[in-house]
């Protein structure tokens, strides 16, 4: 049961073949079996999950009309607040904190009757690409436990990949949904900026952050996306408009006549050969399905990584000022006569990890007088050029594509002492965030050299999220029929009962 898609689970629930309580218990059992090895979860809320499942079961037997995902379990990245449930953002500075309110995303998934199993591990404050920066230890990739699942939403991706949950929610500031989806062989989507409310999403870089869905299939991901998206008066950047029907698009499986643009700058040199090979094959598949493949030029993408590592740290240096040891979270050094400033200094030193400090310092530098124009100001102008490059490219193509990440999953510890090498892993995902558009990663096969999953990235203009699902579903259907099953079914068994 737990290896099925959320859509299949939904059918089984509707037909009465299984109850949500049984389904939830099966996932809690799976977590009990494998999570000591995978470490996807920071907190499992068995009691709350079973209570929600029982409510959905009661509603169903009383004939109430339910959302298609009602009763389906989900794993939630620990960056979103959930009333009364410990929320840490992977940081020591929030250890033990229990929010007094639900984020809008959590309200929406609760209203749909979705069952929240627990909170998943992440790079501290979503700063990282491997989940190794969590204050609570790393998450391990279910495909090879010696490797990282990517990050920062590595816990959510690993939970879905290891059948601990059919669905999960992550957040994507520079690729933190798409890159871990690629590295764990599942589907992940970063929606258009402003499509999903940021109310209750602990901020890293406010102009780039966006929560989004993970699933093992394109349709499952669309079903969750549909629940999450929508206007929210509590988020001033929330789009007030008509949202595309992503579920209908995920059922289309048709790319005939569509123009698909391959971004010249996001392939070739620096991309692992097996990654490039699976990407090229997927392009051939799309062409054989009737899509027209064109090459597009985005010269300013060469500077996207540099611009991102100025803009995101600058915004984070401001956002993380709220962790001041006064109203919630950790407080250190509050002895008789200690000043507020010394308590702040000591708390922020004890509570923040190394990467968070590095980014706060870099952001403080980039925003300081005398350097502002040269660093932050230039980065903001590069951002304009990237938006212009996308506009030109989307005039020639309906969607743009690239490999999601330049490599497959890397070993734990391999890049943790080399920030530049780690940052380079985000090279293909970052432009989407800088432009505020949407992107999907879906499995493109296994790299020959290491038998690890490769991600295929699809990008579409703002509020055209449906195009991701239309192209993604067509490619997925063709690849799954070629492979004789979803890629995830080729993952080695983790022990425990499947």
């Amino acid at each position: 049961m737990i290896t099925q898609s959320a859509a299949a689970m939904s059918d089984a629930l509707a037909k009465g073949e299984v109850t949500s309580t049984e389904l939830t218990q099966a996932h809690l059992d799976r977590i009990g079996d494998v999570d000591s090895a995978v470490k996807a979860f920071l907190h499992v809320d068995a009691e709350g999950a079973l209570a929600q499942a029982a409510r959905v079961d009661a509603d169903r037997s009383s004939g109430k009309k339910l959302h298609p995902l009602a009763g389906i379990p989900l794993a939630l990245k620990d960056v979103l607040t959930q009333d009364g449930i410990p929320t840490t953002a992977g940081s020591k500075i929030l250890q033990g904190w229990k929010p007094q309110y639900d984020s809008t995303v959590v309200s929406k998934i609760k209203d749909a009757g979705i069952v929240i199993l627990g909170k998943t591990n992440m790079d501290e404050f979503a700063m990282g690409s491997s989940t190794e920066n969590s204050a609570y230890g790393p998450t391990f990739n279910p495909w090879d436990l010696a490797r990282t699942p990517g990050g920062s939403s590595g816990g959510s991706a690993a939970a879905v990949s290891a059948y601990e949950a059919p669905l999960a929610i992550g957040s994507d500031t520079g690729g933190s949904i798409r890159q871990p989806a690629a590295l764990t062989g599942i589907v992940g989507v970063r929606p258009t900026y402003g499509a999903v409310s940021r109310y209750g999403l602990i901020a890293y870089s406010s102009s780039l952050d966006q929560a989004g869905p993970f699933g093992r299939t394109v349709l499952d991901t669309a079903l969750l996306h549909d629940v999450m998206a929508g206007h929210d008066p509590k988020d001033a950047t929330s789009i007030n408009g008509t949202f595309p029907d992503v579920v209908a698009a995920a059922r289309k499986c048709d790319v005939k006549g569509m123009k698909i643009g391959v971004i010249k700058q996001l392939q070739g040199e620096g991309y692992q050969s097996g990654v490039q090979a699976r990407f090229d094959e997927s392009l051939q598949v799309l062409a054989s399905l009737g899509a027209q493949i064109v090459e597009v030029d985005c010269p300013s993408f060469e500077y996207a990584l540099a611009a991102y590592y100025l803009i995101a740290p600058s915004e984070c240096s401001s956002n993380l000022a709220r962790f001041d040891a006064m109203r919630y979270g950790l407080r250190v050094g509050d002895s008789d006569g200690a000043s507020a400033e010394s308590v702040m200094n000591a708390t922020r030193n004890a509570g923040f990890g190394h990467e968070v400090k590095r980014r706060i310092i870099l952001g403080t530098y980039a925003l300081s007088s005398g350097y502002y124009d040269a660093y932050y100001g230039s980065a903001q102008k590069i951002r304009t050029l990237i938006i212009q490059d996308y506009a030109k490219a989307f005039a020639q193509a309906d969607v743009l594509v690239s490999p999601t990440a330049p490599t497959t999953a890397f070993k734990i510890g391999e890049k943790s002492d080399d920030p530049i090498a780690m940052y380079l892993g985000d090279v293909a995902t970052i432009p989407v965030n800088l432009a505020g558009i949407c992107g999907m990663s879906l499995p493109a096969g296994l790299a020959d050299e290491d038998n690890l999953p490769v991600g295929f990235q699809i990008m579409a203009p703002a509020m055209e999220d449906a195009r991701l699902y239309q192209v993604g579903s067509a490619l997925e259907a063709a690849l799954v029929s070629q492979w004789g099953g979803h890629l995830i079914s080729k993952a080695p068994a983790l022990g425990g009962s499947k």
Partner: protein, 99 residues
């Protein structure tokens, strides 16, 4: 090759209200040159006449009617406080009143 000294990092850390250990200051200073070189690539491009983008979408002020909504009780609001006193957040001294 950019570089930042241990003292430069200490000054930034003080601005950011982080009391770093000597070891961390030295290690961060040693990595900073490399990171600054990487991000300084934004200066290689001719940006004359290019407008900066601070946000991917146009931002407008959002207004609502000034009506009272249910909000947190004092107990809820203080539930995460590191220290509290008389229904207030208790904070360490802010001015030098003890001197």
């Amino acid at each position: 090759m950019s570089s930042l000294s241990r003292d430069d990092v200490a000054k930034l850390a003080a601005l950011a209200r982080i009391e770093m250990s000597e070891e961390e200051l030295v290690s961060l200073a040693s990595q900073f040159g490399m990171i600054l070189d990487a991000v300084a690539r934004v200066q290689e491009v001719d940006l004359d006449g290019v407008a900066p983008t601070s946000h991917p979408q146009p931002i407008r002020n959002v207004f609502r009617e000034d009506v009272v909504h249910p909000s947190l009780t004092p107990t809820q609001a203080l539930s995460g406080a590191p220290a509290q006193e008389e229904q207030r957040f208790r904070v360490p001294q802010i001015l030098g009143e003890a001197e």
